[in-house]
């Protein structure tokens, strides 16, 4: 797996904001940035058990002559070296395949619908398809670039949540930013969650980082979300307990994505976690 983040560039002011966020994320997590400037309306991602067709919305193909120039400008301005991806394989002459062995990928809330649809509560089907199958977590940036200064991880006890915590720990280490854990207990005491974290081998690393635990024993989950700092990177597992549902993510996840405007890193069921 390469230590890179895949960013599909949209040559619009909205796309510019997304690119800034990708650049910031890369800088803070010491990852290389790879940009794909779309050459056709679709591309394919062949995952292990499914091939996801990403239909791009028209704005991705706007003004191709200036796309590369704009992207390079922005990347250079932020002090990184622009690196682009040229698809090497094609399923059909107008259908390029993109590699999938990245560490992260940036996707806006919707990649195939109009930009007007990008709002709270909506995550497009293609993006969902990618999250469901990818071995990398997906970064969904806020609509306007804002540098995050801390990391909030939602932990509900499931395996997916455990993975999310692992990513949180890694990113906190690399970036040096403080880590917050958010748990809405459903009547269970804090020790129960501590026990779970310990079983997953996460308690020790967390303590080393000296994290803060936002533990809510009561109250409405949605209301408690207000406690998530405004300048936080939110990391959350796509599914909680229970079997994988095809259309929707886990219930908490859906609530989170409809309520929080923060930058989000969503950890799907197949995400590979690196040992640190």
């Amino acid at each position: 797996m390469r230590n890179e983040l895949l960013h599909v560039f949209r040559n619009t002011p909205l796309g510019r904001e997304t690119l800034f966020q990708s650049i910031y994320f890369c800088k803070k997590t010491d990852t290389s940035l790879r940009v794909y400037i779309p050459v056709s309306k679709q591309f394919l991602m062949y995952f292990e058990n499914e091939v996801v067709t990403v239909d791009l919305d028209d704005s991705y193909l706007r003004d191709p002559e200036t796309a590369k120039i704009h992207a390079e400008e922005i990347i250079r301005m932020e002090g990184l070296i622009p690196r682009f991806i040229e698809p090497k394989s094609y399923t059909a002459s107008t259908l390029p395949d993109l590699p999938v062995d990245f560490k992260y990928m940036t996707c806006p809330r919707s990649i195939s619908d109009l930009s007007t649809k990008i709002s709270l509560g909506y995550i497009g089907p293609k993006v969902r398809g990618i999250i469901k199958n990818s071995t990398f977590p997906v970064l969904i940036p806020a609509s306007v670039f804002k540098p995050w200064k801390n990391i909030t991880v939602f932990f509900g006890g499931s395996n997916n949540a455990g993975k999310a915590v692992r990513f949180g720990i890694e990113i906190s280490r690399k970036s040096g930013f403080p880590l917050l854990l958010f748990t809405q207990s459903e009547g269970k005491p804090k020790s129960y969650y501590e026990e779970l974290l310990d079983q997953k081998g996460l308690l020790k690393p967390l303590k080393k980082l000296s994290f803060e635990w936002l533990f809510f024993e009561k109250g409405d989950f949605r209301k408690n979300l207000y406690e998530v700092p405004h300048d936080s990177l939110v990391i959350v597992g796509a599914y909680g307990h229970g079997p994988i549902r095809d259309i929707l993510f886990g219930s908490k996840m859906e609530l989170i994505q409809s309520e929080l405007p923060n930058n989000m890193l969503i950890v799907g069921p197949y995400c590979a976690v690196h040992q640190f």
């Binding site: 290389s32 499914e50 091939v51 067709t53 399923t91 059909a92 002459s93």
Partner: protein, 557 residues
């Protein structure tokens, strides 16, 4: 349950899928024909192919958001490079497009679109059962076989096509599952459409002279196949250059086909009706007309498919072949009228076998298909003769089948257990040796000598201490003389010992490219550098070791 048995069961399910796809397409074609029947005679009917082609591409590209092309190259690509993964939308998109193209009069066949439908259904069934690549590939082969088996009521041909054209190898594991799928597919179709042999001919009386005449026919079929393939390529590239919008392009092609159809109605649609006539000996065409229709059908087919119409080549090959056979028979009668040559149906049958085998570069498929769909087992020898000779001759001019050409042009064609295939399976990351010692560029020879004493490597990567970037490689072989000259110990910096002629390889390189770099640079070891950072060394000997293991694992027992 035993893994293989499980696979056979799932193969049967895939067979049902493939068979159903064929049934759907047949039904759709019937419906289309019925709808347009009352309008066939009218003056404006020549515009139908254009409209049909236009609608089919619009549907395919804008509504379903799939891509054009008849689909078999995509199945081959998926099987050879993508572990058999095919998009679900391809299971129905091509069927509908194809129905629109053909029923409106476009000169194409329903077979290739049904292949990708069957393959896609099988692929998604395999995904549902969480099968791994190798098994999914076999299942995809099964789906394709089932589709062909169903649409022609010819299970053996379906199997042969799948193994010959799509998977590319006949191995025992493949065979069983695919045979089951094909049989099930054919059966599914029989349930809905009855067990008929599509082109059942009568009995044949053949003399030795007829067998000799077959050889002559092979030349003609070979020529015909070459003409078809070359014309198809030509029209495809020409139309791509002239018209950029795929829908308009298809419509234009359809228009020309429609115009041809005014004069030669035999070129429109599938054309099986005419084939049946010829096989039953009921045709009324003379020598010149038969020849004209052969050429006309070839042109119409290339126009339909070359401009982006969705349809396959099987049916047109059969039509072209039967008219060619008819032409040849009439020619024989012309040359030696008193000799009692075999009937038209005999030569038509052989014509079909010859043309199909050559265009597909798949003699087994041609042989099995023709014998199965005509019930002509008596004439097996003749069929084999014509198929084989025609294929061998056409291979000289057109070495690859019409399906493989597209892939080859893109450099995507890989056959299992070939050098290119194995190299494409291996990834650089698997071959990197990270035991190479890194040293700072500002180190003096004296310190370097101490390091050499302690390590076992022959190669040392020189890194810039300021940004950690790779600068070059030092090979002990090249610097032996300096190592033993103490006078140089304080005057030489390690940076000066670098061999500037060693090219680097990045993690993005495909292994085939890496081998090419090895070949032209004559190094046995190369450094892997990505984004300026040194990752390790890659050596030819390690590649050999992995290559062999990969090949061994690929081998079927």
């Amino acid at each position: 349950m035993d893994e293989r048995l499980k696979l056979v069961f799932i193969g049967a399910v895939a067979g049902v899928g493939g068979g159903t796809a064929a049934v759907f397409l047949n039904k759709a074609l019937e419906i289309g024909r019925e709808i347009l029947l009352p309008y066939r005679g009218s003056w404006y009917s020549f515009i139908f192919p254009a409209i049909g082609a236009f609608l089919s591409t619009v549907f395919l590209i804008y509504i379903v958001k799939d891509v054009g092309g008849h689909g078999v190259p995509e199945v081959i690509y998926s099987v050879t490079k993508r572990g058999g993964l095919i998009r679900l939308r391809s299971s129905f998109s091509r069927i509908i497009s194809c129905a629109l193209t053909i029923s409106s009069g476009g000169s194409a066949g329903p077979e290739s679109p049904v292949v990708i439908s069957g393959a896609s259904v099988a692929s998604n069934i395999a995904c549902h059962f969480r099968l791994k690549d190798r098994q999914r590939i076999i299942l995809v082969g099964g789906g394709a076989a089932a589709a062909i088996a169903a649409i022609f009521n010819a299970p053996v041909a379906g199997m042969a096509f799948s193994l010959e054209a799509i998977i590319g190898e006949w191995t025992s594991t493949n065979l069983i599952v695919i045979a089951v799928s094909a049989a099930v597919g054919a059966e599914v179709c029989r349930i809905f459409q009855g067990n008929q042999i599509p082109f059942k001919g009568g009995t044949f009386t053949i003399s030795n002279a007829d067998l000799l005449a077959c050889i002559g026919l092979s030349f003609f079929t070979c020529l015909s196949a070459i003409l078809l393939m070359k014309l198809l390529r030509f029209i495809r590239s020409l139309s791509n250059r002239i018209v950029s919008s795929p829908c308009i392009r298809a419509a234009l092609g359809g228009l020309i086909v429609g115009v041809i159809g005014i004069f030669i109605p035999e070129v429109l649609g599938e054309g099986y009706h005419f084939v049946r006539e010829i096989i039953h000996g009921k045709s009324k065409y003379g020598l010149l007309l038969a020849g004209l229709i052969t050429l006309g059908k070839t042109l119409a087919t290339c126009l339909t498919i070359g401009t982006g119409g969705i349809g396959g080549l099987f049916a047109p090959c059969l039509v072209i072949g039967s008219f060619l056979g008819l032409f040849y028979q009439k020619l024989l009668l012309f040359i030696a009228p008193s000799f009692s040559w075999a009937g038209e149906s005999y030569f038509a049958l052989l014509g079909m076998a010859g043309v199909l085998s050559s265009v597909l570069q798949a003699p087994m498929t041609g042989i099995f298909l023709i014998t199965e769909i005509t019930g002509g087992y008596q004439v097996l020898i003749s069929v084999v003769l014509v198929s084989v000779i025609s294929v061998c001759l056409s291979r000289i001019f057109e070495p690859f089948s019409v399906y493989h050409q597209e892939l080859i042009a893109r450099g995507e064609f890989l056959r299992p257990r070939t050098d290119r295939y194995i190299l494409s399976e291996l990834n650089i990351l698997e071959l990197i040796d990270q035991n190479c010692q890194k040293i700072r560029s500002d180190m003096r020879l004296r310190e370097f000598v101490e390091i050499v004493k302690k390590t076992k490597s022959d190669f040392f990567a020189v890194i810039d201490p300021k940004d950690g970037h790779y600068i070059g490689l030092v090979h002990l072989d090249d610097i032996r003389s300096y190592l033993f000259d103490p006078n140089l110990y304080d005057t030489i910096l390690v940076e000066e010992l670098i061999d500037p002629n060693i090219p680097t390889v990045s993690l993005d390189h495909e292994l085939l490219e890496v081998m090419e770099i090895f070949d032209y640079s004559h190094n046995s070891v190369l450094p892997v550098v990505h984004d300026g950072k040194f990752f390790g060394l890659i050596s030819k000997s390690k590649i050999l070791d992995h290559y062999r293991k990969e090949l061994m694992v690929e081998e079927e027992i």
